[in-house]
Structure formats: structure tokens, C-alpha cells
């Protein structure tokens, strides 16, 4: 029940395309859903996050879509660029328990 399932494991998209990464969870007490971006040789860094009171959040070219009834959330990258090539992690946490439950990661490659 504590798992966050992320798919796909890897994704290759042409420049300008819209990669979509999906995550699903079981614990309905989760109330914070961040996405982290990790470049090779670096630590993960927060990209964008959403709470379940909204269905969508957009920051620049990055959008989180959240479906509370389906217990799913996804990351969309508009007008993707080669510089977006990285590993993306979804995560979730519950209330005052700030410990993040992590997805397995998606390695994204944007081809020029």
C-alpha cells in the first residue's frame, strides 16, 4: 500500500514531442506528489509538485495531471528539448510524515 508505481522505465521522444510519465499509488492518505529530475552525476532536484485539491499544475513546459479517483498522476513535458534528457522520479508523502515514497524512475531521452 505504500508503493508508488512508475511507468515507463525508459522513454525516447523526438525533440518537440510530449513525453508522458505515469505514476499510480494505493495509499489514499498521500497528499503531496512531487516530481524530481536527475541529471547524470547529480542528485535529484524538485521539478514540480501537486496536492490532491487540484487536477492540474503547470510550471513552464512541465505539467502534472492528477486523477484522485484513479489514484494516478502524470508528468507531461511540452515542446521537449534534448536538455530535458534525464531520469524522472515521481514520489508521494502523507501528512506530516515528510518521508517520500519514490517511484522507480523513468530514463527519458529526447532525440535532436
Amino acid at each position: 500500500q505504500q508503493q508508488v508505481k512508475q511507468s515507463p522505465q525508459s522513454l525516447i521522444v523526438q525533440k518537440g514531442g510530449i513525453p508522458i510519465i505515469n505514476c499510480a499509488y494505493e495509499n489514499t492518505a498521500f497528499d503531496y506528489f512531487p516530481w524530481y529530475q536527475q541529471f547524470p552525476g547529480k542528485g535529484p532536484a524538485l521539478l514540480i509538485a501537486i496536492r490532491p485539491d487540484v487536477s492540474e499544475k503547470k510550471e513552464g513546459r512541465f505539467t502534472i495531471s492528477f486523477n484522485k479517483s484513479a489514484k494516478q498522476f502524470s508528468l507531461h513535458i511540452m515542446d521537449s528539448q534534448p536538455g530535458d534528457s534525464a531520469t524522472y522520479f515521481c514520489a508521494a508523502s502523507e501528512g506530516s510524515n515528510y518521508q517520500l515514497i519514490w517511484g522507480a524512475g523513468t530514463k527519458l531521452i529526447i532525440k535532436p
Partner: protein, 113 residues
């Protein structure tokens, strides 16, 4: 000015040795973590620690021990290193009162030979 810094960045050592990785954060955060990232990029939390409580992931061997001299530092000591300990280890911190965002160090790539 680096928020979360780890040393060393690379560590190559022989099986059976004892080694330490150091972590410092200058964000004033009150909770720090150690994560292990394996070759498949899976992030596994090992410990979370604040000045009140140490939470140990029960799957972590007791050869691994966190040591916190003060609120800004959380070091990881590993005894009797094994080949399977080879991974990238990340230190991270969060502000218990300020939000959920975790700030990560740049990682320490440990190779046990």
C-alpha cells in the same frame, strides 16, 4: 554556495574495509537522510534523522550507521564493506516545518573491489 554537500564524490575501496561519507547542509534544515541509488537508478531510503529521532530502514544491514555530530551534519559509516554495497549514496535534507522539498547532495559513488 552549495546547499547540501557530500565528500568524497568518488570512493574506491577493497572488500572488508571500513569507510565514511560526510554530509553537510547549510539550509538550516532539521531532517537529513541517506539514500542508496543502485545501478538501475532505484532510490532507496536508508535513514532519516533529526535531532530528536533516528529512523532506520529495517532492510539496511547494521554495518551501516549514521552519525550526526550536529544538526547540520549527517555522516554515514560503513563497516566491513561488501561488493553489493557498490552504489551511489545521496545525502538529502528537508525542513520539517517548511515543506516537503528534499534537497540532495551530488552523491558519492562507492565502488567496492
Amino acid at each position: 554556495d552549495t546547499a547540501v554537500s557530500q565528500t568524497p564524490k568518488y570512493l574506491v575501496t577493497q572488500m572488508g574495509n571500513d569507510k565514511s561519507i560526510k554530509c553537510e547542509q547549510n539550509l538550516g534544515h532539521d531532517t537529513m537522510y541517506w539514500y542508496k541509488q543502485d545501478s538501475k537508478k532505484f532510490l532507496k531510503i536508508m535513514f532519516s534523522y533529526n535531532n530528536k529521532e533516528l529512523i532506520i530502514n529495517e532492510t539496511v544491514p547494521n554495518r551501516f550507521s549514521p552519525k550526526s555530530p550536529d544538526k547540520a551534519h549527517l555522516n554515514l559509516h560503513i563497516n566491513s564493506l561488501e561488493l553489493g554495497d557498490s552504489a551511489v549514496y545521496f545525502c538529502a535534507s528537508t525542513n520539517y516545518l517548511g515543506g516537503h522539498e528534499a534537497f540532495f547532495g551530488q552523491g558519492t559513488r562507492l565502488t567496492v573491489v
